[in-house]
Symmetry: C2
Subunit: 367 residues, 2 copies
């Protein structure tokens, strides 16, 4: 965050900065979605929806789960939230009592820890490395689970590593959580952005899994603040009560736009192919500069690289590259503490021309 | 909530229900706001804003505070939130540690209790009656304040009573909170909807007050989920950190629409006059039916009536009127416990024709 602020400062001073730190798609929302939003605006319906969401959107998502994954999910199990941030606030408020805990991978998405703490719970960091593709495994869940642990979170594809968990591994984690009396929470926000492999929803393996997803990444709809969470039937009522209190409802117009997004398959594919081209470019260039990519990232728009050949202090290195080369990357410590000083995250939610310029600058700086 | 569900059930069965329970404007968002949203859609800017909001909206609100109240508020003190719900989640997360407390009026807005509990804090109910216009007073704040109390909340105009706090009383509450080492939190969401009197912002009396407001009520923009909170400078950084974690940002399009809303004064005045006509109609009719209105409500779109002449169980009475007369009102217990069985809330966010029909039905039922 401080690094991002410094990058903006440098830009305000007139320097051109190459942004390989930003986790937001560089694409505008697809035209078909904009057109649907315009129609919704004209309809005059700017009122609250039900707290759990517009039933039409819940039904459209239910059909989407069947089309996309072949799984049957009843519409009322799909709760519409203000982004996945809203989904996580909701889940932890509904699931976690003071003193209870949730297992998180380290490295992992940093806000998770704060969502859990805000609900009065305790995040338990589970160090993960290349041997489990930087994901939780059944053995790790078993090892770190405690009395009072309520759930384990899998981010698949992972932020920051871009790696997918194996299908068998996901199934085993789900079974282990269930056996231990808790839930698998599967963060699937980067689903649809995978390359050469198809991510499977945790619901294919465990109907009891809690699945978080949203329109921000795949559909390039960050500013619309619209996501969802699929919960088992027994959690619908507790979640509805929390939703009535903490959100009232997700934005009405965004919910109409989301219905249209689900039908705009050509637009996803266009964006996905662009990300993949960028991914392949970086995978070709970075190792030669000294960035070791131990597990090939096949999803999201991130590459997690080991920088041990270059530095023993990834944070200082990131600051140095920003100041000296005008290239912004994210140091490992933003995602946890395990081997954080040996890693950086590259994002390729930035056009190929900028990525080429970034690589050229890094090459000069590291020469 | 259960009563609202039952009302919907009856409607699904074909009965016509008169809704005097709903706290949402019946007006659509004004055309000038819709037009601005359409322009913003066409701009292609659907990205996240800064977590504290679009600086243009912060600046527009800063000018609005000067125009509307004559108070100078620096733009960076105005944090843009997903509705006032987001503002309350934010404030309590930033302000209240586990075990600390916040003073609330009873009766009062019911979600407040839940926001505070979700942050790990303890709401302290302060019974209020006609003698303080159903508001906290300096003496009550002094009496109920404890070690670990962080703030007192004034909802002005009040939900459920529609009454305004006196200017002197507000100033004294602010001074008392400050002297006791805490904050006044002033919920001003119904500002602009007042009749024959002008509500003053707590910032006129106390630059340290935390003021929550939003576009849902005055501007009829509920489904846009857009509000704000003004905080003292020392709270900006702690609040920004919470915002980055729990919302990322308020909806981008809604923020553009909100800038236009601030310029659409004719539309507010049209809606305000309609509410006032309804208010005067109900104030003329309800006492003759047995509903005693002890303090004239001069704001919001609520009337809080004492039903002791009709019943000693307001909740049973509300259910009876719904089933028998098809008229929905909210029982006092939804707003607290103090004298709750003797009170109901009428909302006049419903057209005059329906209000006339509701009054006629109540007259027949109570004859």
């Amino acid at each position: 965050m401080q690094l991002l602020e410094r990058a903006k400062e440098l830009e305000a001073q007139g320097r051109r900065i190459i942004h390989m730190e930003i986790g937001e798609p560089d694409f505008s929302t697809p035209p078909a979605v904009i057109a649907a939003a315009r129609r919704a605006l004209d309809s005059g319906d700017n009122f609250y929806t039900a707290s759990t969401g517009n039933p039409e959107l819940q039904q459209a998502l239910s059909r989407w789960y069947m089309d996309e994954y072949g799984v049957a999910v009843a519409p009322e199990r799909i709760l519409i939230t203000p982004g996945t941030s809203g989904a996580f606030s909701l889940i932890y408020a509904a699931l976690v009592e003071a003193g209870e805990s949730v297992l998180l991978s380290d490295p992992g998405y940093p806000c998770q820890r704060n969502f859990i703490r805000l609900a009065g719970g305790e995040p338990i960091s589970v160090p993960v490395g290349p041997e489990s593709r930087y994901h939780l495994s059944a053995a790790l869940v078993e090892k770190f689970w405690q009395a009072g642990t309520r759930a384990a979170v899998v981010i698949n594809p992972s932020n920051p590593t871009g790696t997918l968990i194996g299908d068998d591994a996901l199934q085993q984690v789900a079974q282990t959580c269930r056996r231990l009396g808790g839930y698998l929470i599967s963060d699937e926000i980067y689903h649809g952005l995978s390359y050469g492999v198809r991510a499977r929803t945790a619901l294919e393996f465990d109907d009891d899994a809690i699945v978080v997803n949203g329109f921000s990444k795949r559909w390039a709809m960050t500013g619309w603040r619209i996501g969802w969470v699929v919960v088992p039937e027994r959690l619908i009522d507790p979640c509805r009560r929390v939703m009535q209190n903490i959100f009232i409802a997700a934005p009405t117009l965004s919910q109409y736009a989301a219905i249209a997004a689900l039908a705009s398959a050509d637009d996803w594919e266009r964006m996905r192919l662009a990300y993949d081209e960028r991914r392949r470019y970086l995978l070709g260039e970075l190792p030669g500069l000294g960035f070791d990519i131990v597990v090939e990232p096949q999803g999201a728009f991130y590459i997690y690289a080991n920088v041990a050949r270059i530095t023993d202090d990834a944070k200082a290195f990131c600051w140095q590259m920003l100041e000296q080369a005008g290239v912004a990357m994210t140091p490992g410590e933003d995602f946890g503490s395990y081997k954080a000083a040996q890693h950086v995250r590259f994002s390729y939610a930035t056009g190929l021309d900028d990525l080429r310029e970034g690589v050229a600058r890094l090459r000069r700086a590291l020469a």
